[in-house]
């Protein structure tokens, strides 16, 4: 049997979540069935579309689907080829190494893998420092990547792990990173701990807000101290960027006015989708190492 996934450019996050939920593998899906991903009705997709679409395709793939694609417009087809989107579900493609990009403003789609967190985050930083921002410090990019990768790996319990895509928009002076997993979602994971330790369950919006407070932790790993998401937010604030997090029935928006807004969403997102926008005009100068002094705590 062939399942057709007709992809559209849906800009509204709720509608996009609705699309993802309605197109997950049906219960009667069988190993050996085919998935045809049809881009013929779309011309433009943003990083957040592509990483969540990759998670959706991965779900079919993990259930034994043969994946094929129907191309869209020429520009989109070229873009998807250059970020190696079409290759990920081909037999023999190495999904566990850092894949070099064929388009200079975008890093390739990458499947989150614990063993490559350090190399992906560092190579992403070095790539942009070397090609676009000589003399500038992109630690904020690498640390945000590390935080979200660890968040997926330590907490999400996602069978498809996760996908990430980083795109530089020179005209807008922005680096946008989107990361998606189809795991439990931040509110659900935090509530596991909250119910056990406090005996009450938070709403998804309350849980998502709490997850961004310092020292609030789901205790997924023994040494977890509840710092990761607040670190992520701090780095976004330093560059006066923006952050969107859509997880379960909660949506968090930190915008350039430096305010945190959390809404109840109409649609439950099946995991976590994070969109980070860093303003490159606010990148600091690269620091020199101090070699002739000792630092005492």
């Amino acid at each position: 049997m062939v399942y057709r996934l007709l992809v559209g450019s849906i800009s509204n996050y709720d509608s996009w979540a609705n699309y993802l939920v309605n197109n997950r593998p049906p219960p009667n899906f069988r190993k050996g069935d085919s998935l045809l991903v049809d881009f013929s009705c779309t011309w433009f997709l943003e990083p957040f579309h592509l990483v969540s679409l990759a998670c959706l395709i991965e779900e079919y793939y993990l259930q034994g689907a043969r994946v094929s694609f129907e191309s869209g417009g020429f520009a989109l087809q070229k873009y998807l080829t250059n970020i190696e989107f079409y290759n990920y579900w081909e037999p023999g493609f190495d999904r566990h190494t850092f894949t070099h990009t064929m388009i200079n403003t975008t890093l390739c789609l990458w499947k989150v893998s614990s063993g490559l967190i350090d190399s992906y985050a560092n190579q992403a930083r070095e790539y942009f420092e070397r090609n676009f921002f000589f003399g500038k410090d992109l630690e904020a990019l690498s640390i945000t990547l590390k935080e979200v990768f660890n968040n997926i790996y330590d907490h999400s319990n996602s069978p498809v792990e996760g996908y990430v895509l980083t795109q530089y928009y020179p005209n807008k002076k922005e680096i946008v990173t989107s990361i998606c997993d189809f795991g439990l979602g931040i509110p659900t994971k935090l509530n596991e701990m909250w119910v056990e330790s406090k005996g009450v369950k938070l709403s998804d919006t309350q849980a998502l807000r709490a997850a961004f407070m310092r020292k609030v932790s789901s205790k997924s790993t023994p040494r977890n101290r509840g710092m990761g998401l607040s670190y992520l937010l701090t780095n976004v604030r330093v560059l006066r960027g923006s952050l969107r997090v859509f997880s379960n029935n909660a949506f968090l928006l930190h915008d350039m006015s430096n305010e945190l807004h959390i809404y109840k969403s109409n649609q439950c997102f099946p995991g976590t989708l994070i969109n980070i926008n860093l303003k490159t005009e606010n990148l600091p100068q690269m620091e020199e190492e101090i070699e002739d002094q000792e630092f005492y705590f």
């Binding site: 967190i117 190399s119 040494r223 101290r225 990761g228 705590f297």
Partner: protein, 89 residues
Amino acid sequence: MNCVHGTSTNNDGFGLFIEISKAFTAGDIVKLSLEGSTSMSSSFLNSSFGELAEKFGMDKIKNQLRLVDFKPSQAGQIKKYLEVIGDHA
């Protein structure tokens, strides 16, 4: 001695914790070089400096740990981290 291969994960951090723990237990002064190191994730900090603070306390860190070949922002990040977790240490 190069005892850390990365600064991203809990495993990276725990490797550093193990090495510094040995030196602290022996009463040695530790000079930790950050030469060429990159941004430290919260997972790395939790499993390295967080564990050190919990096991040995801040006084031991103040008395026996020095940073060398560091960037000011790195030293600031570790110091701030230790301050934030201070009431848990």
